[in-house]
Symmetry: C2
Subunit: 246 residues, 2 copies
């Protein structure tokens, strides 16, 4: 683990939780929205409920219960449901639509932009997210994320962790799976990528689910790198110190 990988040509990144802080961003926007609309809501619980609806919604697509659906529309279905559960009433369709687009405005973790800028100098960098293209492009504009390319489940018509997403990214870049590295804060995503022959980098994001939730942050020997953040990954992949003399 942690050896230098001269053959890696491109890095693709999981986005929700790995690049951006979805929970903190939703809480912040929710609180602002709640003040404006005089709502009394536990926005942390609201954010967690919204995110919790995500995997079951994708499973309905995978099983064929729903046709192919972009994440914007899955987010909206879940939102309509939890607005009821949290007893939030009286919003106009326009207000609900605008709030649903909070996912387009998620904020990068503090290290993300700088780390990506450093990695971009040596590698092709891209997303590999279940989020739809429009969402990812707007998020990058909003947060200043300097992607070279935006890959999404939407292009492959398969969600991660289906192999089509990992192998499809390498194929579209015209490189071998072993020349592509997935960077993610989620071990299941990384193990699936590894099974397809990709290189892997695990990034610890201890606050993804909030300070109270304990998540498995242990390094895994199975991964090529286990790092604290994107700058740490850039240190490892691009070199932190000047080259030794002679």
């Amino acid at each position: 683990m942690g050896r230098r990988s001269p053959s890696v040509k491109a890095l693709v990144f999981d986005v929700f939780g790995t690049v951006v802080d979805w929970r903190g961003s939703i809480i912040r926007e929710g609180m602002r929205f709640g003040r404006a609309k005089k709502l009394n809501v536990d926005w942390a619980a609201f954010a967690d409920a919204w995110r919790a609806g995500y995997k079951p919604a994708m499973a309905r697509v995978r099983s064929g219960q729903l046709p192919w659906t972009r994440i914007d529309d899955l987010h909206r279905m879940i939102l309509d449901d939890i607005l009821k559960k949290f007893d939030i009433r009286g919003l106009s369709p326009g207000e609900i639509g605008e709030f649903n687009r909070v996912w387009h405005r998620l904020r990068p973790w503090p290290d993300a932009r700088r780390g990506l800028q450093r990695l971009k100098k040596r590698f092709v960098i891209g997303t590999l997210s279940n989020g739809n293209i429009g969402l990812l492009v707007n998020m990058a504009k909003h947060g200043g994320l300097p992607w070279d390319v935006v890959f999404s489940a939407e292009v492959f018509r398969h969600y991660k962790p289906d192999p089509e997403t990992y192998l499809g990214s390498a194929d579209l870049l015209g490189i071998a799976p072993a020349e592509l590295m997935l960077v993610a804060a989620h071990k299941d995503d990384l193990f699936a990528a590894k099974a397809c022959g990709l290189r892997t980098a695990f990034v610890r994001r201890p606050l993804e689910h909030g300070p109270a939730k304990r998540t498995d942050l242990n390094a895994e020997r199975a991964f090529d790198f286990n790092v604290a953040d994107f700058n740490h990954l850039a240190d490892r992949l691009c070199g932190r110190v000047a080259k030794k003399k002679g």
Copy 2:
């Protein structure tokens, strides 16, 4: 023509000829390659022959004579053919493969990078090219082209001017066709986009086919803009002068 378009949200660009100077780039690399290999070749004629093979090759895919083929592979088929025609012998497969990738290293027109940087501040900017994703990503890296998103015929499994490419780009961005503008130096591309409801900007590239070839550079009323280069387009779309006082 030429009115401001506040509703436009994204611009997609034809690439070969519109953003980059394929002919000058191939001539330059050809001359360097020819000196190193002591070849006596008319590289301008070579570049023209390579490009001339492009539309017939795509037509073979469209007609079903060839299965879906990425442009890298079409370029290689044409290259193998014209190497014979120009009596260029004795190259290794590695040398031919490397020379085929000249299309990944095409140089932007002098205004392109700066114009795109200006347009990127106000709009989502992307490619919409028949070139494959890997080619476009490498070209952007090489030439410093700041795309927000890279769309390619490869994603849609249709070449321009098929409607799937124009409508598919708007769909992936989650916007209406009328909110998307195609920027191109080729009128057939622009007319096809317009027929799909896109906005259009014609960019004059008088040197695309070399100084001797006359091309139709006349402005068309059918297009929203007719401009001299990307900076001119940015002047028109983003405003050239400071806002008037109160």
